[in-house]
């Protein structure tokens, strides 16, 4: 891992994404390009319209589902270096974020760069765990990079959800959760906690849950909430996208308890503003401690910080005498759904 203090010439941070200029490959670009390496299927990382895409099998399937394109692109197995030109190889390594999510290790000679994409360190039954990977440059996300963000163990949040469900037999329990990843993780964790009843789904959830099930993630009995008589949904758990909370769709449910599974729920006003009665602090991103622990553990020569609250993490790095810089990427505004 002998690398000069200068940034290697074969990688560049552009506003539209990370670019490998010598071979024309982009990583998670915000606009359509000819060749893209995609870390995971969330829309702010996997835009539509690319020519050739390299991603894991699950991510390719998610892209195909979301953009209604045939999944003909090359699926890359985890941990298998793929030569992509100019002596550069790309290796997809589990990131623990959502099904199919990967960090991308880029190697050229003895230079090693890791692009984390989005990741978390806490366990998730729906995807492989984050694998710390030694590197010279770590390009990390920073969605929750403020020390106020400490995500509690998910078991506690699921337990609160189940208490609310038991205490409100006359009301539907409506959980707002991002349709890719968060929804399936909440369902899987409910199953782990011994909840085996049917979980009802908003229409926007069904296809992604089916995709997870095809990839071997056990989600138990699921059924669409549409068309179910109002009374039959009393005391039942329903999962919907956050945008469907307080919507015309939700109005026909029996007096729903609005719950939301999101890292932002740690801040009370965030929950109050969205009229959330049961905030569940469940995030698929690192909290502050996970971010700082990861940087210390991986111990790169240099850390690049992408989307999020990079100023706090930059300040922390400076105090720890860790070389760091912030990248100004477009299209990665705060994801409301997370």
């Amino acid at each position: 891992m002998a690398m000069s203090q200068d940034t290697p010439r074969w990688i560049k941070a552009e506003p539209q994404g990370i670019l490998l200029p010598t071979i024309g490959w982009w990583i998670d670009p915000s606009h359509a390009v000819a060749r893209a390496l995609v870390t995971h299927g969330h829309a702010d990382h996997a835009r539509g319209g690319h020519g050739e895409i390299l991603a894991t099998r699950a991510t390719q399937d998610i892209i195909a589902l979301r953009y209604e394109t045939p999944s003909h692109d090359r699926a890359v197995p985890y941990f298998e270096p793929v030569p992509i030109g100019d002596s550069i190889t790309a290796t997809f390594i589990p990131a623990g974020h959502v099904l199919g999510s990967a960090q991308i290790l880029l190697e050229r000679g003895n230079e090693r760069i890791v692009v984390t994409g989005d990741y978390k360190r806490s366990p998730d039954p729906t995807c492989l765990p984050f694998e710390p990977t030694a590197c010279d440059i770590l390009i990390t996300e920073a969605t929750f990079a403020l020390p106020v963000f400490r995500h509690p163990p998910i078991g506690k949040e699921i337990a609160r959800l189940l208490v609310t469900q038991r205490e409100n037999p006359q009301r539907a329990i409506l959980v707002g959760a991002y349709a890719l990843g968060k929804a399936q993780r909440v369902i899987a964790e409910l199953r782990r906690a011994g909840y085996h009843q049917t979980i009802w789904l908003h229409g926007a959830m069904s296809a992604m849950c089916a995709l997870y099930q095809r990839h071997g993630v056990d989600l138990g009995p699921l059924a669409p909430a549409a068309g179910v008589p109002r009374d039959a949904l009393k005391g039942q758990i329903i999962i919907c996208p956050p945008s469907a909370l307080n919507s015309a769709w939700a109005r026909r449910l029996p007096d729903p308890v609005n719950a939301m599974a999101s890292g932002w729920m740690r801040v009370r006003q965030r929950a109050v503003q969205r009229n959330i009665e049961l905030p569940l602090i469940i995030s698929d991103h690192c909290d502050w401690n996970e971010l700082t622990d990861t940087i210390r553990e991986v111990a790169p020569h240099e850390t690049w910080i992408t989307h999020g609250r990079e100023d706090a993490l930059l300040h922390w790095c400076a105090q720890q005498h860790i070389r760091a810089r912030a990248l100004d990427l477009v299209g990665r505004e705060e994801d409301e759904a997370e």
Partner: protein, 543 residues
């Protein structure tokens, strides 16, 4: 502290009033004394700890957390107490081995500037995030969790199934942690005796007359004065002034409290001297003038001279310790006419009866009330006891017909409770000058009532379809929809760009037929300001 912290959290996240009440009631029933009493005091704003300042809390956190990281966090969270509760390097949720609320109150209330800091730090070390949040909110005395004192008292009454009015009455005589109140409510002690204390008694209120038919002979009529209801109480040598919600406003009106020597309880309207309401004979300025005097902790001599306040008396509840509330109105009125003779005429007069023979005559007077800038008329059943709250059939208010204006819908926001899925709070505006000469729309008011359920559904759909912009929870819409807005008065206002504020605006009709450019001008509304030039005199004597 854990139960109190849980209570605060669930109150923060609950919008429904019914659920807030149920949650509070179950806490008050399940929690032992004196903890529940301290919690009740905290919720009703009865506690203050002068040694606990937010500056002190900032000092504490900066000794434990990097100041830059603190500042960035504070900016994001937007609230010091919450930021500190999240950042404090103490136990995480569920790991609290914290102090009880009674211990916290004991320590904080005896804390000095020197001892406050270590005491607070020691508590923070023992509490989890929720406990820390509750501690800091309690300590700084700013709970801001959407629970009014009134709601807390209502929950108390609900929890123990006692009349709210009895709670209100006993309340002001007692000090936290209100052990006697809990003992009485749980049936193990008699009701606290308040007859010799200057405490608030719940007001009797009037119902809107609307389409009700009354036997006119059974009623007396008065003008409806537009000020704030006030209760003047003197007992044990002390005078107190209470507003409608039981808030003590004595300090804001020294000229009234200062001259009052009558032992007893009187009910009236607080007004400012002037010639707007009812002209010179009416003797009262507009509500807007009174507003200059409201909400002040202290009041300067020049403000008193500029806006001289007085009380127009309606009723007497106690004379000495004689409780007159069960006597008929006619007997109380006779007493009141005697009492007013003994009061300083500069600050007390009596609300005159309107001498009319028939209901039609009264209707005539009411129809002209707009011209004389009187808010309307009141009807009081001559044999009515003084019943707290709004009891039907006894007192009626009959407001003058509202004014209306055609306004353009500009912004909308979701409602709360049952309406949280609907855009039901509407901000509307009028033109600064005609559109064709470059006029722009300026907001003139906000309304969330007046429409039918059908209208509301239609408006909600309109907002969703026509939104052009979002500012947090507020949606801006295409400025095409005209709303006919009804309101009781127009007041000048320097808080609004339009320079006016509407009183009690509500949406009368949706004017789908009218183009936005034909909505009213601000100038049209400005001409409706009460107390504008050339107001006719009130014609019906005696006044």
């Amino acid at each position: 502290m854990d139960q109190f912290a849980d209570l605060l959290s669930s109150l923060v996240y609950t919008r429904s009033r019914t659920r807030k009440l149920a949650r509070l009631a179950s806490y008050l029933k399940a929690t032992p004394d004196p903890d529940r009493g301290w919690a009740l005091a905290a919720l009703t704003g009865a506690l203050s700890f002068p040694a606990i300042k937010s500056g002190l809390i900032r000092e504490l956190i900066k000794e434990r957390v990097d100041p830059v990281l603190y500042a960035l966090s504070r900016d994001f969270v937007g609230d010091t107490a919450e930021t500190v509760s999240l950042l404090w390097p103490g136990p995480q949720v569920g790991a609290s081995a914290g102090p009880g609320i009674s211990e916290v109150v004991a320590v904080l209330s005896s804390a000095t500037r020197v001892t406050a800091k270590p005491a607070l730090a020691a508590f923070l070390d023992r509490l989890d995030e929720n406990g820390r949040f509750a501690l800091l909110k309690l300590g700084t005395g700013a709970l801001r969790i959407g629970v009014s004192a009134r709601l807390a008292k209502t929950a108390f009454a609900q929890a123990f199934d006692v009349p709210l009015n009895d709670v209100e009455e006993a309340w002001h005589a007692l000090r936290p942690p209100y052990t006697e109140l809990f003992s009485w409510a749980s049936g193990v002690a008699p009701k606290p005796d308040v007859s010799l204390l200057p405490v608030f008694r719940p007001f009797m209120l009037a119902s809107p007359l609307e389409d009700t038919c009354v036997a006119f002979a059974d009623f007396a009529a008065e003008w409806k004065w537009d000020g704030i209801r006030i209760q003047v109480v003197r007992a044990g040598g002390e005078t107190r002034l209470f507003s409608r919600g039981g808030e003590d406003i004595t300090a804001s009106f020294p000229e009234i409290a200062g001259t009052f020597g009558f032992a007893g309880v009187l009910d009236g309207e607080l007004l400012v001297r002037g010639t707007v309401q009812g002209g010179a004979a009416g003797g009262a300025a507009s509500f807007n003038a009174l507003q200059q005097r409201l909400g002040r902790k202290t009041v300067s001599a020049s403000l008193q001279a500029q806006y001289p306040a007085f009380v127009r008396l309606y009723d007497v509840l106690f004379e000495g310790s004689d409780d007159l509330r069960q006597s008929p109105w006619i007997a109380r009125r006779a007493r009141l006419e005697g009492i007013v003779q003994r009061l300083d005429p500069a600050v007390f007069d009596i609300s005159a009866l309107i001498d009319v023979e028939t209901f039609e005559d009264l209707a005539d007077l009411r129809a002209r009330a707009r011209d004389t800038d009187v808010e309307g008329v009141m009807l009081k059943r001559r044999d009515s006891a003084y019943e707290p709250g709004r009891r039907s059939g006894l007192w009626y208010k009959w407001k003058r017909e509202p004014m209306t204006a055609d306004c353009v819908l500009m912004y909308a926001q979701r409602g709360s409770g049952k309406r949280s899925s609907l855009y039901s709070d509407f901000t509307f505006g009028c033109w600064s000058e005609p559109e064709e000469t470059g006029g722009i729309l300026l907001p003139v008011g906000k309304a969330y009532s007046g429409f039918s359920d059908e209208d509301l559904k239609w408006l909600d759909r309109f907002v969703r379809k026509q939104k052009t912009n979002r500012f947090g929870p507020v949606l801006e819409v295409e400025k095409t929809l005209v709303l006919e807005v009804a309101f009781d008065a127009v007041n000048p206002s320097n808080r609004h760009k339009s320079g006016i504020a509407l009183r009690f605006p509500r949406i009368n009709r949706i004017r789908r037929d009218k183009p936005a450019c034909e909505a009213d001008l601000i100038e049209t509304l400005r001409k409706m300001i009460s107390g504008g030039p050339a107001r006719p005199e009130l014609t019906s004597e005696p006044l």
